[in-house]
């Protein structure tokens, strides 16, 4: 009998609420949410892994964006090889730092949510703490994307009012790397928004009406 009950409790593992109702009503109370909330932990893990992947990809693409071109330098006036690196702009340095943090957090939270998937008893507690970090990370990643995007836009178009020349006609490869990196980080911030919405939706579904 005990082993059968154990098996039953193992069967409804994806239900994070399985500890909150008393054991007598478990079979009755936990059955309806099992179908609606069953997909949630899996989607959670997938989104967190996507966050990790996007952080990693955008950092790698940004760091490998060095390009050296022979260009005309104004003083002294002759042609010399000049390289463009991401570390020449503080906005891109901030971008690399922020996206590294986001990727690292994505890796850790993926591992923790896989652990919570296997042991659902601690799931809600972990979830509520992750929402806080998710929102903070969303702010950091969004600001990094905005900063890098703003600087890259000036590099792409230039600005005639302040006499900032565009650089992307010379450093095309560099600019493509930066554009790709910013696009991937934009995807990462969308993933973070989805993660927070998913957590809030799953918590609000579980509230007894």
């Amino acid at each position: 009998m005990a082993s059968a009950a154990d098996k039953e409790s193992e069967k409804i593992i994806p239900v994070p609420t399985s500890t909150s109702p008393p054991p007598e009503t478990k079979g009755l109370a936990a059955a309806p949410p099992a179908t609606s909330a069953g997909y949630f932990p899996v989607v959670n893990v997938v989104l967190r892994f996507l966050l990790f992947a996007s952080g990693l990809v955008s950092v790698v693409v940004m760091v490998t964006s060095k390009q050296t071109e022979i260009t005309q330098i104004p003083f002294p006036p002759f042609r010399a090889p000049v390289s463009a690196k991401f570390s020449h702009s503080p906005a891109f340095i901030y971008f690399v730092a922020a996206l590294s943090v986001a990727g690292f957090y994505g890796l850790i939270s993926t591992l923790v949510s896989i652990y919570a998937l296997l042991k659902p008893s601690c799931s809600t507690k972990i979830l509520s703490h992750f929402v806080i970090f998710d929102v903070l990370l969303l702010g950091i990643v969004a600001s990094a994307t905005g900063a890098a995007g703003g600087v890259a836009y000036i590099g792409l178009k230039g600005n005639t009012h302040t006499a900032w020349r565009k650089v992307c006609n010379v450093y095309g490869d560099f600019c493509r790397h930066i554009g790709g990196s910013v696009a991937v980080s934009l995807f990462g911030s969308i993933v973070l928004v989805l993660l927070v919405i998913l957590s809030i939706h799953s918590i609000s579904k579980k509230i007894p009406k």
């Binding site: 702009s89 901030y94 702010g139 900063a147």
Partner: protein, 201 residues
């Protein structure tokens, strides 16, 4: 077995009643802070949008076009819409301001009957999108303003803040105010999430 169920039910009923009281008390305090925070967000984003939106400085600047020739005095104007990052900043702050006003009205209208569900979920999601937009706008304006303040020697982007000092101070003030506004939005989302979690337990 049946008697057990009855006892269980009775206990559940008592507990849910108590929870209901706690929930009502919670809701009152949270709703009050919610309204205050929304008003704060409205005011901060409005101030940020206006401060950057009226930013303009005209000045006689000595410009050296060719290094060998002596500099020429020219009458130049710095306006906020010359830089696309600032345009984005003002647009996002105006959107956040309008949304704060609308959501404030919605929250106040929903106050009497504690109807949770779809509207509160939509408000939380829109708050979240405002967090993302405001932070990205703040980051963009900050990065471009930093280039204006320090310049960038690698790509020969000269600084402009030594000439247009008042313009740059106004930009900095707008960015700081807008960052406070985005922090308020972040607090709103966090409070909503924590409140939901408290209700759940």
């Amino acid at each position: 077995m049946e008697s057990q169920y009855v006892v269980e039910e009775g206990r559940n009923g008592m507990r849910s009643e108590k929870e209901g009281q706690v929930m009502v008390a919670n809701k009152k305090t949270v709703r009050g802070s919610d309204v205050v925070l929304r008003f704060l967000a409205f005011a901060l984003t409005l101030v940020a949008a206006i401060v950057l939106g009226v930013d303009k400085q005209s000045k006689v600047v000595s410009v050296s076009i060719v290094p060998s020739l002596p500099p020429i005095n020219a009458f130049l104007t710095a306006k906020w819409h010359y830089l696309s990052a600032f345009v984005y900043f003002v647009a996002v702050n105006s959107i956040a301001c309008a949304y704060a006003a609308i959501s404030l009205l919605l929250v106040l209208a929903n106050r009497g009957h504690g109807k949770k569900g779809l509207i509160s979920l939509i408000i939380i999601i829109l708050d979240l999108i405002m967090v993302a937009l405001l932070f990205s706008a703040g980051g963009a304006a900050l990065a471009v303003g930093l280039i204006g303040y320090q310049g960038n020697s690698h790509v020969q982007w000269n600084k402009v803040c030594n000439a247009f000092d008042k313009f740059c101070q106004q930009v900095a003030a707008a960015i700081v105010v807008s960052l406070f506004g985005s922090a308020v939005y972040l607090l709103l989302v966090l409070l909503a999430a924590l409140n939901l979690h408290k209700k759940h337990n």
